[in-house]
């Protein structure tokens, strides 16, 4: 993609005020998404992936705040903007869909009311034109008989249809960036495939840059161009899907891939990563992954590895697995 990326996040840190004092949930995260590009943000519970998505949208709750870094949307800095200025952008240039659409849709308003409100928030439109746009939006996400369904309430839709509704609303203004936080996790396999196919098509047609947040590496691998793997608030590895799956550089990525049950390893014990993700209040010193890592040495417990760039990829590890990354460490 040419020109400035649709979304560029640089060195973003996010902290939360808690009983244990100020806890940093996200440390210096950087990534960018071009128009029409799909970035998968992968991590387990507590890795900071959802908080990153919320912070980019300016939707952190009262206890959380961005402590440093920048979020540039189409070249404009979002960090430090007032709520009023943010509202002008949210829904128009950047929008978000969540895991549970019933929490984003208003249960007591009809679907048409909600869609038209979202439309007229950013555009001057006649009721008639807005209604026509609403119909075509529902049509685009594959909701059958859209004109009739407009007058229904969210509870009259099935789970998969409700998620399509949320996607339709998020894409009304053809935003440059869509942040999707586990939107298919609660759906059945065949319905998940339907939603994935709609999103994939729409993002490509409208040139929307997509940030797909998920714990499920398999979903991301089929959808994304690039993947960023998060662990304990840091991106530990970034690269193209093909590179990361065939030649993971970080031991955590490699462990994640090996933990997924798959055809060729049927019946044999799954590779497992021992232990569990540390809590924010007790993140180990040095590399936060070292207590669970098979390759850890003395330095891993003392020093946080610096990001190492090699062949269009970045890894944060003292002992990277990929051969190309090792060559880079030796020459450095």
């Amino acid at each position: 993609m040419s020109g400035a990326p649709a979304l560029e996040v640089t060195d973003l840190s996010i902290a939360f005020q808690s009983r244990h004092g100020l806890l940093t949930a996200v440390h210096g995260v950087s990534f960018s998404v071009g128009r029409g590009e799909v970035l998968g943000l992968v991590g387990e519970s507590g890795s900071g992936k959802s908080v990153t998505g919320l912070a980019v949208m300016g939707l952190l709750d009262a206890a959380g705040r961005i402590t440093s870094g920048s979020v540039r949307l189409l070249g404009t800095e979002l960090v430090g903007l007032s709520e009023r200025q943010l509202r002008k952008r949210r829904g128009r240039d950047i929008s978000m869909i969540f895991q549970d659409p019933s929490t984003t849709l208003n249960p007591v308003l009809r679907v048409d009311t909600q869609i038209i409100e979202a439309l007229t928030a950013h555009e001057r439109l006649s009721q008639k034109a807005a209604r026509a746009r609403a119909v075509s939006a529902l049509e685009a996400v594959g909701i059958p008989s859209p004109a009739e369904r407009l007058t229904a309430y969210p509870h009259q839709f099935s789970g998969g249809m409700r998620q399509r509704l949320a996607i339709a609303i998020a894409l009304l203004h053809r935003p440059a960036v869509l942040i999707a936080d586990e939107p298919t996790t609660a759906l059945d396999v065949t319905i998940q495939a339907q939603v994935l196919s709609e999103v994939q098509k729409l993002a490509a047609d409208q040139g929307t840059g997509l940030v797909w947040i998920s714990h499920d590496l398999s979903v991301v691998s089929g959808l994304a161009d690039r993947v960023a793997v998060m662990y304990a608030g840091r991106i530990v590895e970034t690269g193209s899907v093909a590179d990361i799956l065939t030649d993971p550089a970080h031991p955590y990525t490699s462990g994640l891939i090996a933990s997924v049950p798959s055809r060729n390893r049927r019946g044999s014990p799954l590779a497992q990563i021992r232990g569990a993700m540390p809590s924010l209040a007790a993140v180990p010193p040095g590399c936060p992954f070292h207590p669970r890592c098979d390759f850890a040495s003395g330095i891993c417990a003392r020093a946080m590895p610096e990001p190492l760039a090699f062949a269009d990829r970045i890894v944060r590890c003292h002992h990277p697995l990929a051969a190309a990354a090792r060559a880079e460490t030796l020459s450095a």
């Binding site: 387990e44 519970s45 099935s158 998969g160 249809m161 059945d188 396999v189 065949t190 319905i191 998940q192 495939a193 339907q194 994935l196 196919s197 994939q200 714990h215 499920d216 590496l217 398999s218 979903v219 691998s221 089929g222 959808l223 994304a224 161009d225 899907v241 093909a242 799956l245 065939t246 462990g255 994640l256 891939i257 090996a258 933990s259 997924v260 049950p261 798959s262 055809r263 390893r265 049927r266 019946g267 014990p269 799954l270 590779a271 497992q272 990563i273 021992r274 569990a276 993700m277």
Partner: protein
Amino acid sequence: MTAPIIALDGVCRDFTRHADYAERLANAVLRRAGPSRVRAVDSVSLTVAPGEVLGIVGESGCGKSTLARMIAGILKPTAGTIRVAGTDLATAPERERRAASLAVQMVFQDPTASLNPRARVIDLVGEAPVAHGMVAPREKERFVCDLLARVGLDPSARSLFVHQFSGGQRARIAIARALAVNPKILVCDESTAALDVSIQAQIINLFMQLRADMGLTYVFVSHDLGVVEHISDRIAVMYLGRVVELAETEAMFAEPKHPYTRALLEEVPRLEPVKRRFSAVRGEMPSPLAPPPGCHFHPRCPIAVERCSTERPALRPVGDGRLAACHFA
């Protein structure tokens, strides 16, 4: 083949919603049919051999959990018989029924919902075997410690409460609780669904190791085809209350016979280094209150013909010991 340890024959389960007074009145005045009835499980017949792992897959509302609960003896079938180790759970005398039901234990999806939050682990795990006279009260502590070690927990965990553990550890406690009465069969209903991938791998490995150590038989219910494929010897695919295909795991994944199985297998997201186009089966699962006539899958089926909407296909042998319920299998 050895005698099956679980044998289901024509098992059905209906759920009826009891109409309130206003509804009964409205039904009478408008001459409508009585309370709505859902057939959650529709004439399922299958067997499980000792030591075998049977996977049951299907999407929400297909009846897989209801079937699992009937096998575990939590729900009674409305029709058909369930025999566990040769004992018919419905008609056997109390003493035999109790022994047979102890032989089947269930591991649920959400340990926080299935384990008492106000009980310590030692009681959660140790209470049932003591109550059933399998363990003497003074042996309880040692028994619980042994069991905790077996599922990969530190014995010091015995004096803690459920909320003090992580998700993976809670799953281990739920498994220890199920194993405490020395069952022959574990029925696992989405037991790894709520766990992160790396933790899920730990629990799946534990299940497989326990199977090898203790010769357990599993009925493993999940919506996650990857997990089921990994752990099961045979798989039953359910759609809207009926088993539509039953086959050895490898044969099924190599060549699914039923169009629904085929669709399901195609949609599974897999780890693959190339971007793919998701192409979806059209439509959604119909409401179980008003299932389509004939073959339940015909409105979504790419190869359906006239006959499919009128005649219900029987689950019949389609070669190599496989069963499928499709006119074209």
